[in-house]
């Protein structure tokens, strides 16, 4: 019996519930709507521009979504646990600035990178402690941290960017060798793929990942069942800080810059991408590959608008519409 047939058999249920469980040949329609929209956009844009459907263009999209994708994986984990982090934008900037300033003063690359990532991880740890210890929503805690970091970033740089990320630019500013096994992909794709796979494995197979789902589903029940809720939150926010640090290195290397506005809006974009992919805003549901769909759709829309010859104002309109649709779909799913 197909999923659609079983759904139809539940006649007494409200039509919305029927729709919510609708499946097409065993495929969860709600789960793949971003893919369907992506296919539509790709096909439509291919008709408008003969340069759209090219390897080169898809490499561009990959390189554009990679840094946002890394931080979206961290945001996904937090959202699943009913948390979120609004400080990621300025924390990414913070880690890049720390690394950039160390490089500017002649410190070795590895040390600079390690300190930069450690700085962002420390911020994540502080976020975690504050979120675990307070009854205040992480929204306000991480918003406060974001404002603090904004001031710190500006103070550290005086508004002036660090313009040469040296070895980081060499690592992430270009492309991998053509041919097997990298096919000349942008080098930023490597950390993204690694983080994606690790996030998937983390959520699926590690106790900490399963605890994130449990806490997001029902924090009180999780506590009563013996899950160390506070400690888990600290771990998750610290992990987020680590991923933010990695994003800082990747993005600063790609753009060859460290500045306070390096990752402007990443906090909201990463939440939007996770939600578009089907991660619930209030916890308990989501996954790494779902968020990948969100990130990919986000990147494809931004890119397609250019190839469709439309003003970039349409990018914002299209992305806004997609986020609204995503929220509606998520609600229907529930």
């Amino acid at each position: 019996m197909s999923g659609t047939e079983s759904a139809l058999k539940e006649a007494p249920q409200a039509p919305r519930k029927l729709l919510a469980r609708a499946r097409l040949r065993g495929v969860d329609v709600y789960g793949v709507w971003p893919v369907a929209v992506m296919v539509l956009i790709v096909v439509a844009t291919s008709f408008r521009s003969d340069r759209y459907f090219t390897i080169n263009n898809f490499e561009n999209i990959l390189s554009q979504i990679a840094p946002l994708g890394i931080v979206t994986m961290g945001q996904t984990v937090l959202l699943i646990s009913a948390g979120l982090d609004l400080s990621v934008g300025y924390n990414i900037a913070f880690s890049s600035i720390v690394t950039g300033l160390l490089l500017e003063h002649g410190h070795p690359l590895l040390l600079a990178v390690a300190v930069g990532i450690a700085a962002a991880t420390a911020v994540g740890f502080v976020n975690g402690v504050l979120a675990a210890q307070n009854r205040a929503h992480p929204f306000i805690i991480t918003l406060g941290m974001s404002i603090f970091l904004f001031g710190l970033d500006t103070q550290l740089t005086g508004g002036a960017p660090v313009n040469d990320m040296k070895g980081l630019y060499t690592a992430f500013g270009g492309y991998l060798p053509s041919g097997l096994p990298f096919f000349g992909l942008p080098s930023v794709v490597i950390p993204f793929v690694v983080v994606l796979l690790l996030a998937f494995a983390f959520l699926r197979w590690t106790p900490l990942g399963r605890r994130a789902y449990a806490i997001g589903g029902n924090e009180e029940a999780a506590y009563l069942s013996g899950i160390p809720v506070k400690r888990t939150k600290i771990y998750l926010y610290t992990l987020m800080g680590l991923l933010v640090g990695v994003t800082g290195m990747v993005l600063a290397g790609q753009i060859n810059e460290a500045s306070f506005n390096l990752a402007q809006n990443f906090e909201l974009e990463s939440i939007a991408c996770a939600v578009i992919g089907g991660t619930a805003l209030f916890g308990g549901r989501g996954g790494a590959f779902r968020s990948l769909q969100g990130v990919a759709l986000y990147g494809i829309v931004q890119n397609a608008i250019v190839f469709a010859g439309l003003s970039s104002n349409y990018q914002q309109m299209a992305l806004g519409a997609i986020i609204i649709i995503a929220v509606m779909v998520t609600r229907a799913q529930r």
Partner: protein
């Protein structure tokens, strides 16, 4: 573990709070300076505004004023109004700086006018405000002519497809620069609207697209990637500030197109001039925020001493530079050089535009 972590966080928070309190309670340097305080509205942390402030501080130190900064890091209209009210309450002799936008200026100027505190703004000129009570004037680059020499350079050196990466459209400055560029490029059609495609120089150049880089380097990187994907034979790009130009150049290097695409820009930022000297940025029209800040305080001082009348528009000094004449650009960091500060303090005051454009 949790309690130990909590103690660490509390200790860190306490230290930061203590440091902040100590900073607040320290008297600002030069607080007792003679001629009074000029309140400076600092809208956002961008380098341009920071250096404008430093230029103003350099002039104020020479003229005997204290500059008190009212920062507005998130570019919030309500914070700006609160800043103006606070500056008035604190007894500022005059208000200087940057408003967050045209719409906000109404309330800002009205508040200053009501209190009888003269106000001078850099950028955001509108004919609607120029004759209001207490408005000393506005200073900014002449938007459209600022883009013209850059377009003329492109016209002389490039054939084929040309694109534009703008700042955020909607405030007038990004549109003005683009109009000037397209005029200099010799485009026919509605260069004010700036909608591509337009044919230029009798068909030798085609203006193919405009994308926004939001004034930011990472966004310009993405915009450049997309443009070069859509127009692989692109010959030139005008990028409306050098921060974005660096991002566009980085994207072109990654795509191995940096030798093919001529980049021109504007601003004269330190990293922009480095790019001109290095050769990847072929030309740029420059102005110095530090000089603008310095001139703003000189004009305020002249107004307070009844040497000039209010209600005037002043155009900033600009210099179009290529690799051969980068020394024409006034340094953004002139405040670091006492000799340069003395030089620009002693040149004649800016002359007001006779009939400010409507």
């Amino acid at each position: 573990m949790v309690s130990r972590a909590r103690r660490i966080v509390l200790a860190v928070c306490a230290t930061i709070t203590l440091a902040a309190v100590m900073g607040i309670t320290q008297a600002p340097a030069g607080a007792a300076a003679g001629k009074g305080t000029i309140a400076f509205l600092l809208s956002g942390p961008d380098l341009y505004y920071q250096y404008g402030l430093k230029g103003a501080e350099a002039a104020a130190a020479k003229l005997g004023y204290t500059v008190k900064v009212y920062s507005n890091p998130n570019i919030s209209p309500s914070v700006e109004l609160a800043n103006v009210q606070n500056a008035i309450a604190a007894g500022a002799k005059a208000i200087d700086g940057y408003s967050v936008g045209l719409a906000t200026e109404t309330a800002t100027i009205a508040a200053a006018s009501r209190a009888g505190v003269p106000i001078f703004l850099m950028y955001g000129y509108s004919h609607a405000y120029i004759n209001q009570k207490g408005v000393i004037g506005f200073e900014q680059v002449n938007l459209v002519p600022y883009g013209v020499p850059v377009g003329a350079y492109m016209k002389a050196h490039v054939k084929g497809q040309v694109a534009v990466i703008t700042g955020q459209l909607g405030r007038g400055d990004a549109e003005g620069y683009r109009t000037g560029f397209l005029t200099g490029l010799g485009c026919t059609g509605n260069v004010t609207a700036g909608n591509p495609p337009l044919t230029c120089v009798g068909g030798a150049i085609k203006y193919v697209t405009t994308q926004t880089g939001h004034w930011l380097r990472p966004a310009a990187y993405t915009a450049m990637q997309n443009i070069i994907g859509q127009y692989p034979n692109l010959a030139g790009v005008y990028v409306e500030n050098e921060d974005m130009a660096v991002g566009a150049h980085t994207a072109l290097v990654a795509a191995h197109k940096d030798k093919q695409v001529t980049i021109v820009s504007c601003n004269g930022a330190p990293y922009g001039l480095v790019g001109v000297k290095a050769g990847w940025l072929k030309a740029t029209d420059t102005d110095s925020p530090a000089l603008e800040g310095l001139n703003s305080v000189r004009l305020i001082d002249a107004y307070l001493n009844h040497k000039i009348s209010g209600g005037k528009l002043y155009y900033s000094y600009t210099a179009f530079v290529t690799k051969s004449n980068t020394s024409k650009a006034v340094p953004w960091t002139l405040f670091n050089s006492p000799a340069l500060v003395n030089k620009y303090m002693s040149v004649p005051l800016l002359t007001a535009v006779a009939n400010p454009p409507k």
